[in-house]
């Protein structure tokens, strides 16, 4: 097997390698196709620093430096990788199914006319073809897919599906500067961070979290009453923020906050992977949902299948009864 068997695209942001890169290297190892090469695409002067921080012990690092690659611009990444892949023909190019990967991977696949599977939770290599498992229909079923045979095939892997492996000795780094078109039609402008609000759900010991099943902003009072009785903080899943029922600072999810409370109560949350990835570290997870097949029940320790508008008031009442009419110190 040649030295460029499997390439892993190193994801970085604001000068730091993102943790998900370790998972991508682990996904590459799961294929058992020989040496793993990490590919760093970076702005001028960034390549060596980023290369040293690549997790998962790749056998080699290939680095490309260009001003257009500084912001991990999807168009520039696809263009630069396209040329390199054409020259060196790795068997597989892997990346993360992240905000970055969702942009450069389809663009690269289209540029190369190469097969791509996105959002894979498992990979396999049989008879020169890449196979993958991926969740479909909101995580209710999985699809077994196979890519056509091609000189190079591509995949992005779902964050949280492969266990990142540790770092060891830094491998040799080869740095070059690709030629890129003068204009890519797309320019990076700025990073923007959400302003810190009054609530920090990452510090909460107990979270009462609501999802789409809450139905309307007015219905939040049902969850608020339970949160108050438990001395808990109110959090939510994405549809609640999209509907402006709660501000973004309450959102548990890959695009929101990652939380690790002692107790997490998921009310009317179906359990999209972006949500589960950000709360699965909670000590005790309890879910209330009408749908017994909701993916949240696969990660919860305890569950109640039922109407949250009946279950939650009953739970609030039961909690208050146990406390004998008041929780000390919470008012």
């Amino acid at each position: 097997m040649s030295a460029c068997a499997v390439w892993c695209v190193v994801e970085h942001r604001q000068g730091a390698v993102r943790d998900v890169t370790g998972e991508v290297v682990a996904a590459a190892r799961s294929l058992d196709l020989g040496p793993v090469t990490a590919v760093v695409l970076a702005g001028p002067g960034e390549a060596h620093g980023l290369s040293r921080a690549v997790p998962g012990n790749p056998e080699a690092v290939l680095a490309l430096e260009h001003p257009s690659l500084a912001g991990f611009n999807g168009a520039a990444v696809a263009q630069a990788l396209g040329r390199l892949v054409g020259e060196r023909q790795p068997r597989v190019v892997l990346g993360a199914h992240s905000a970055a990967g969702m942009e450069w991977a389809p663009a690269l696949a289209a540029e190369l006319r190469a097969p791509l599977v996105t959002d894979a939770t498992s990979l396999s290599w049989e008879g020169n073809r890449l196979g993958a498992l991926r969740a479909v229909y909101g995580g209710k079923l999985q699809a077994r897919v196979r890519l056509a045979e091609a000189p190079t095939v591509l995949a992005t892997v779902r964050p949280g599906s492969f266990e990142a492996v540790g770092s060891g000795a830094a491998p040799a780094v080869e740095v070059s500067s690709p030629e890129l078109p003068a204009t890519l039609g797309k320019r990076f402008v700025a990073w923007i961070q959400e302003a810190a609000g009054a609530v920090d759900i990452t510090q909460a010991d107990v979270l009462v979290s609501v999802g789409r099943g809450i139905g309307d902003a007015e219905n939040l009072d049902v969850a608020r009453a339970l949160a108050q009785a438990l001395g808990a903080t109110l959090s939510c899943s994405r549809p609640v923020v999209d509907s402006h029922w709660l501000p973004k600072e309450h959102q548990v999810g890959i695009s929101g906050k990652t939380v690790k409370p002692r107790v997490y109560l998921a009310l009317g949350i179906s359990g999209a992977f972006q949500h589960i990835a950000a709360m699965k570290g909670a000590g005790l997870i309890v879910a209330v949902n009408k749908d017994p097949k909701a993916p949240i029940f696969r990660i919860a320790h305890y569950g109640i299948v039922g109407d949250l508008f009946k279950v939650v008031p009953a739970l609030t009442k039961a909690v208050k009864e146990r406390l004998g009419g008041g929780r000390p110190g919470t008012g």
Binding site: N73, H97, A100, M102, P106, A107, A109, A114, P115, L116, T118, D119, G131, R134, V136, Y137, G138, L141, Q142, A143, R144, R146, L147, A148, G185, K186, R187, F188, V189, I192, Q193, E194, V206, R212, L230, P239, D242, K248, I254, S255, G256, V263, S270, G283, L284, V286, K290, D291, R298, I299, A300, Y302, I304, V305, D307, V311, A314, L315, A318, R322
Partner: protein, 263 residues
Amino acid sequence: MKLAVFVKHVPDTAEADLQVAAGGRSIKAAGLPFQMNEWDRFALEEAVKLKEASAGTLTAFLLGPEECEESLRRCLAVGADRAVRVWDPGLEGQGPAGAAAVLAAAVVGTPYDLYLCGAQASDDGYAMVGPTLAALLAVPCTTLVNRLEVTGSVAVCDRELEAGWTERVEVDLPALVTVQTGINEPRYVSVLGIRKARGKPVDLFDLAGPGLDRDQVGRLGSLLTVEALEPLPEGRAAELLGGAPDEAAARLAAILREKGGVL
């Protein structure tokens, strides 16, 4: 501005018990409610807002058989000037790259200033059609957009990243953007409004249509094959607390005290 939006008609599986159909590669659709893909509702709203602000035109495209037309009617009811359904029985089971190739063929003769797609579809979740379509149309692309502002020939887009971060980028028009949920509040469309839109024509673009490179569609369509749909492997499953709500709630309160250390 000349705008194009691409929408998909998908089953609403949120509370459905899904069954795999004979052949093992698709689900039994009978009895499932269908609707416009959630991400596409936001893309449509954004397109209509841009159309209204620029006194432009909006064409809606959908890939699918006749029973998917309701989502195109919805586009017409919301404000699209024209609706095009792209289909041929030979496209059944086409992978995402093939779907993009067919949609590209449907628009290639009449270039638009801005193409809008949902960031992904709720059924297969590839998140591939938009960026692949952009590549095939040779226009710049930006994905997961949750704020969009067009000034002259440039679109300023905020892209949603992880952990509360956003990336602001500029793309030169013509361009394609894929839209993240929450970018706007899709307007309410009454059933009557959708029914009224039934009177408007829906154009059909099929494989016999002009501009279609059949070889390219066939090649791209066969890059990815679904071999089987199957139940998820056994994972940790919640211990379910049954009984009436009061009964289940009382047991849960006890668990929160004993195992959760609260109360």
